[in-house]
């Protein structure tokens, strides 16, 4: 039986129906990684033994006739900033090289309970800071659609692993677009749920008020399935809402746009987008209209003008705070010094890479007296204004369509050559994090050169189910992306 290219739902159903075993599914996944990943570098730690053992346990449970979970036997990978008990978790940084947590992130625990099998840890930008997955100490990940291009970041490894057909689903974290942008670059579907939808416990923090766990998959139905598994209240994370969630798979199965009010973002220079991305937006709007939605043009003046600046104020201030615990004292990289202060400086200088150090320094500056009042406090006020702008927008509309990124997947090395352009590339993704909104990156086919095109869909906070319902309808019309054809040669 050919397992490659099956969705998570198909694999779980197949294992349940005993058409094939979880072990077979897991071995197929591991073999593909072993065969191709030397070239693509999406996986930084493969846990073959643990995976096979877990798969066998799933098979035994199925054989005993126990009720298998929704993801029974489904192989998956997590970004390397998810804590995994007994398995290295490094954030792809020298700072945590070789660190093995003694607990599982809540998201990893939920996946385990649902019968999913962890295959490995996915590559990422160091401490989730970057848009290209080039700042990892394990080296850059290559885009499975085009190896001269980056897979996006910072969950580039997770997106590439799904695009490459290693696994049907993967988990990433999204602080300012880190799930959606790599999903767009790699040609898969990615989602950042509403803030408070999924527990952050066990995710090595970048910025507490922006971070959210996000699923990646080849289709919207699998995103919804992961949401059903992951979106639960958690006593270990008081920012994770305890409300009763709707059925996300139920919402996605409806796949309807009839009567929906869809807002199209205007008021920015459409000509600045790469042409295929502008075309993708037009196509999405056409589909919405054809499926019975009404379209209105909207502008978000404050959001478009200030979101990137606001995002970097909030994110970097928070990052400097959350990354202060890496002081060489209890875990992670340690350097000796003649005194405490020198020990801290050397440990942090040696342990963190350049991008992380840069962001910590800027963040520390932002929180310093004087700068705090002049930069950070206004940024927090702007954040509120952005939220308000969306609140007003979603009184008139059920969903917003806008780009994910102004550009198709970048050529490798851009981050070094033009960091400001790279930061500005976050303009459309950061807004969802600042306002706590759910957002999906939806593939809309490929260019003639085979590069993925896409749109971003946003919905009101905790309107994740409605968002998946609309996304599934557009996907049905546009077609879900297929996995990439990989090559072993150079």
């Amino acid at each position: 039986m050919e397992l490659l290219g099956l969705s998570a739902r198909e694999i779980a159903a197949g294992v349940k129906a005993k058409k094939f075993t979880a072990e077979e599914a897991v071995r197929a996944s591991i073999e593909r990684i072993k065969r191709y990943d030397k070239k693509y570098n999406a996986i930084v730690a493969l846990c073959e033994e643990e995976a096979v053992a877990s798969a066998k346990r799933v098979d035994e449970a199925v054989a005993r006739g126990e009720e298998p979970g929704a993801l029974c036997g489904v192989p998956y990978v997590v970004k390397d900033n998810f804590c995994t008990k007994g398995i290295v978790t490094t954030c792809c940084s020298k700072m945590l090289k070789g660190w093995v947590p003694n607990y599982d992130a809540t998201a990893v625990e939920k996946m385990k309970e649902a019968g999913a099998v962890l295959i490995g840890k996915a590559n990422m930008d160091e401490f989730a800071m970057g848009s290209t997955t080039e700042s990892s100490i394990f080296g850059a990940t290559l885009n499975p659609r085009d190896r001269t291009r980056v897979p996006g970041g910072s969950s580039g490894g997770s997106a590439a692993a799904v695009a490459a057909g290693y696994v049907p689903v993967a988990l990433g974290s999204d602080t300012g677009g880190s799930v959606r942008q790599p999903a767009a670059f790699c040609g898969v579907q990615g989602m950042k749920p509403s803030y408070g939808q999924i527990s952050r416990y066990g995710i090595v923090a970048y910025a507490s008020s922006l971070d959210q766990v996000g699923p990646l998959a080849a289709n919207v139905g699998d995103l919804a399935l992961l949401m059903d598994v992951l979106a639960k209240g958690d006593p270990n994370d008081t920012t994770c809402d305890a409300y009763e969630r709707p059925s996300f798979t139920g919402a996605a199965a409806k796949a309807s746009l009839a009567g929906k009010r869809v807002a199209l973002l205007t008021g920015y220079d459409r000509g600045s987008l790469d042409a295929p991305l502008s075309a993708a937006i037009d196509r999405a709007v056409e589909i919405c209209r054809a499926e019975g939605a009404s379209i209105i043009d909207v502008k978000l003046p404050i959001t478009m003008e200030h979101s990137v600046a606001c995002y970097y104020m909030v994110a970097l201030g928070d990052a400097s705070s959350k990354l202060a615990c890496y002081d060489g004292m209890r875990y992670g990289h340690h350097a000796d010094g003649r005194n405490l202060s020198e020990m801290y400086k050397k440990s942090r200088m040696e342990g963190f890479g350049e991008e992380v150090r840069k962001r910590i320094l800027v963040g520390t500056c932002i929180l310093t007296r004087g700068y705090y009042e002049n930069y950070f406090v206004p940024a927090m006020k702007v954040r509120q204004l952005i939220s308000d702008e969306f609140k007003n927008l979603f009184e008139e509309a059920d969903m917003l369509i806008c780009p994910i990124s102004p550009a198709l997947a970048y050529k490798r090395g851009l981050g070094e050559k033009d960091p400001v352009r790279m930061y500005l590339g976050d303009v459309f993704t950061t807004i969802a994090n600042l306002a706590g909104l759910p957002s999906v990156s939806l593939n809309l086919g490929f260019t003639a050169e085979g590069l993925p095109t896409n749109v971003q869909l946003l919905a009101p906070r905790f309107g994740d189910d409605g968002l998946l319902c609309c996304a599934a309808a557009i996907e049905r019309a546009a077609g879900a992306p297929h996995i990439a054809e990989l090559t072993e040669d150079d």
Binding site: C91, L96, D318, C325
Partner: protein, 485 residues
């Protein structure tokens, strides 16, 4: 020139919870093996998040209400950043702009005068760990290395910040004592300075000639009430001396060196840290809705000062007596039970302050460990009131009840104070015994040498004492006279 002393205090109270402020580690750290009361959360292991201990919030609100503060809804925590080995996250989670309890006041009595001290606020925060330096004096200087114990890290503290309204060391000490008493009444904290569950930072300055506040000096590291008094006296004298000599004071933090009896500079204003306060986004704001605050308010016991004043009006005690008896809530409760058992209030107060206190002090007991029930003690005191026992007898009975664990009845029998009159043969036996012990006096009387009858009186007195007052004096006189024949 007279300069007025201005003192403000910051008191850290360790809250009485079983678990830490943001995780479920035990708070029972005294004597625990270092780094055993720790978990991923309080060690700031990557990926962990704090979860607020609801009981700590309850206790802080309780204390805030006791201090007449306004309880705020939706208050937040902040992160206070600094790098130090005992601070695992490199920030302390504390309340900064939005303390849970704002304003408030505390009435104190110092040197016989009542005074109202206003508070700035009360906030919640976590404690840091502890550094252990392997030097003889336990200080950092000269240590080749230092060890860190994180058992204390994350302990729940409430910090009570007063306005600078105290004008003498005596007022400062009275304020601390009153806070400690309140904390114990509310069962919010043990309030013990020796074990560190009550810690005080002192701000002291001298007013300028125009009445404005002078340069403020902060004193840290003071571990007892006595030391606080000494440190204040020293620091006030030092500041006066500097100013008298025409010098200027520096705004600084000074440490109290108890052995040397001096304060020493620790860091100046220039060296003050910028803590980069930042909202703690990992914790949702605290829900302290009016309903919740009302429930806590209703659960509050009688305040110590109310009890003190009530004892004065209800039992007719002097303020001083009442203060002494209400100092500890359990002592006050015990006292009220004695009174309920029938003992007159004034006599009961006297017994509490003398006999009971003596036993407690001598044997280092807490009233809760005192084996004699309030009801029994009440009965004993009422027997004195009814003249069934003399004061002396009653004290003996109490000693027997306590020392030999006898019941009231057994103790009375043992002391010959069972209430039965000693007459007839029993009395004669006692008289014979007294005579036997005083052969010279007996001899002198028999020889007619006791012209004034003093020796007879002496023997009668001895008999009375021997019978512990249970014999009728007239019968004693008669019996002595008969047996002398």
């Amino acid at each position: 020139m007279k300069r007025e002393v201005v003192i403000g205090l910051e008191i850290h109270l360790q809250l009485k919870t079983r678990t830490k402020l943001f995780c479920s580690c035990s708070t029972d750290y005294i004597g625990a093996t270092p780094n055993t009361n720790v978990c991923p959360v309080c060690l700031a292991v990557p990926g962990t998040l704090p979860v607020i201990n609801d009981l700590a919030v309850d206790l802080a609100v309780k204390m805030g209400l006791g201090l007449h503060c306004d309880i705020q809804d939706g208050t937040r925590f902040h992160r206070k950043h600094y790098f130090y080995a005992d601070l695992p996250k490199a920030y302390q989670i504390t309340q900064y702009e939005h303390a849970i309890a704002q304003g408030g006041y505390l009435d104190i009595i110092a040197e016989g005068k009542k005074k109202r001290v206003h508070l700035d606020h009360l906030h919640l925060e976590e404690d840091a760990g502890k550094l252990v330096h392997p030097t003889a004096d336990g200080r950092l200087s000269g240590a080749a290395y230092s060890l860190v114990d994180y058992n204390r890290g994350g302990m729940p503290l409430s910090e009570i910040v007063s306005r600078p309204e105290m004008n003498s060391p005596a007022e400062a000490l009275a304020y601390i004592a009153q806070i400690r008493q309140l904390a114990r009444y509310l069962d919010v904290s043990d309030g013990e300075m020796e074990s560190g569950s009550l810690r005080v930072d002192v701000n002291v300055s001298l007013s300028n000639p125009d009445g404005s506040l002078g340069t403020r000096v902060e004193l840290k590291n003071i571990n007892s009430l006595r030391s606080i008094g000494r440190a204040l006296e020293y620091e006030i004298a030092r500041q006066n001396r500097v100013l008298d000599e025409g010098g200027e004071l520096e705004q600084e933090t000074r440490l109290w060196d108890d052995a040397a009896g001096v304060t020493r500079s620790m860091r100046s204003k220039e060296g003050a840290r910028d803590y980069r306060y930042y909202v703690e986004m990992d914790l949702a704001p605290i829900d302290a809705k009016p309903d919740y605050v009302r429930r806590i308010r209703e659960s509050l016991p009688e305040m110590p000062w109310d009890k003190r004043d009530r004892f004065v009006s209800e039992y007719g005690l002097s303020l001083e007596e009442s203060q002494q008896i209400t100092e500890q809530r359990e002592v006050a409760d015990y006292y009220e039970e004695i009174v309920k058992a029938g003992a007159p209030a004034a006599k009961a107060a006297n017994w509490m302050r003398t006999e009971v206190q003596r036993i407690l002090r001598d044997d280092a007991l807490d009233i809760t460990e005192f084996p004699i029930s309030a009801r029994r003690l009440g009965e004993l005191i009422s027997k004195v009131e009814k003249k069934e026992l003399s004061n002396t007898q009653a004290k003996d009975v109490l000693a027997a009840m306590y020392g030999e664990k006898l019941s009231l009845e057994e103790a009375m029998k043992k002391c010959g104070a069972s209430g039965e009159k000693m007459t007839g043969g029993a009395l004669e036996a006692v008289v014979e015994k007294v005579f036997a012990s005083q052969p010279e006096a007996v001899d002198a009387i028999k020889k007619g040498a006791d012209k004034k009858g003093a020796k007879v009186k002496f023997l009668q007195g001895l008999v009375m004492r021997e019978t512990r007052g249970s014999a009728d004096p007239a019968e004693v006189a008669r019996t002595v006279a008969e047996l002398l024949k």
